[in-house]
Symmetry: C2
Subunit: 214 residues, 2 copies
């Protein structure tokens, strides 16, 4: 049936018509783009291009561009959580009080470091936020769950009173989140890294004293 063997050997699809594994590849590609350029860089057609597939192919796996972005956001949140867990586990201190305190500090440092190291992912993580599913701290997972667990350790160690435990999660979260935002996308972008780290320590001091007294 071939009119020309040349066309037949050159033209035939080097890739099968059906990719077979497209969805995860699309997500990976989108994550890669998000790391480079943030939320606005996650362009449906560019993702398809890099996946070696036609534009529109993504619509078989995602409702929307927003749906794909949400997937990237979930991945970013998971990455952030893991970064926090890893850093927390590096604390090797016996005394329960100082141990819990230091673990809280590492939580904050990990949060800010992640934002600095992965600005694109950090941005995507908080652009399409479905928010905490419920207001019950116990069942919550993700970065917020990690923070809550560490704060509970402080209460168990007797370093944080139950009264001050109320709202402490939001206070900690807001502080490191704001610090990260101001440095990553905000007006403090140009601050040298050394100074940034130094001031972060003093900010963590403020939170520590505010929660547990001097």
């Amino acid at each position: 049936m071939s009119t020309s063997p040349i066309l037949d050997s050159v033209t035939p699809r080097t890739q099968p018509y059906h990719h077979g594994n497209l969805r995860p590849v699309l997500v990976d590609t989108a994550v890669q783009l998000a790391r480079l350029t943030g939320p606005d860089g996650v362009v449906l057609r560019e993702v398809a291009r890099r996946a070696g597939v036609s534009h529109n192919a993504a619509y078989r796996h995602f409702e929307d561009r927003a749906a794909l972005l949400q997937e990237v956001s979930d991945r970013a949140m998971a990455d952030l959580e893991q970064a926090m867990r890893e850093r927390i586990d590096t604390v090797a201190i016996e005394d329960p009080v100082t141990r819990a305190s230091e673990r809280l500090r590492e939580t904050g440092r990990a949060y800010v470091d992640f934002a600095i190291r992965e600005p694109g992912l950090f941005a995507v993580a908080f652009t399409t936020s479905a928010g905490p599913r419920d207001h019950n701290s116990a069942t919550w997972t993700g970065p917020y769950g990690v923070l809550n667990a560490v704060l509970d350790e402080l209460v168990d160690a007797g370093a944080l009173t139950p009264e001050r435990r109320v709202g402490a999660d939001v206070a900690c979260w807001a502080t490191v989140h704001g610090y990260a935002e101001l440095h990553v996308h905000g007006p403090l972008q140009e601050m040298p890294a050394a100074l940034r780290d130094e001031i972060l320590e003093s900010v963590l001091d403020v939170v520590h004293r505010g929660l547990m007294g001097s």
Copy 2:
């Protein structure tokens, strides 16, 4: 020369060819759009449409879409600053220490309130941030300048030691900024207003204790 008097009486431009006052009108329109839809809503063609002018007219007054957005950002920053100043001036307390403390709290409340009340402007204000021109707190104006002034009042009143004054600005800023972000664009959007205000007070308590001891 008119082929038809009807066309001549119907067609003539109701508006003069040159707008005469376009630039400020464009900025106003852009601000209006930003309030409704945030940074992404500031669409050059839509701004021109609402100003009753053709697309591209804006290019005679702004280099870029980014340039127009920067103008909106400046306006938003000025609005935020004014909101803070107004709220600060409502504090009517004699005792210098409690007066300065309360003025600091009002600074934070005003910041968060503005973000809640004008989410679009708040977002634009921090999207295109040129950042503090210099790291010298004295010459700085805008919201950051207001904060620094209030913190200096606390030092003058003897409530805040000079050592703890270092980095206090960033600590305060980060806390309220993070609190605002989490509530305006972030995972805490769905929190009821009453609870939001209540927790903000406890967060401000943490900052107060952290800076000035219990």
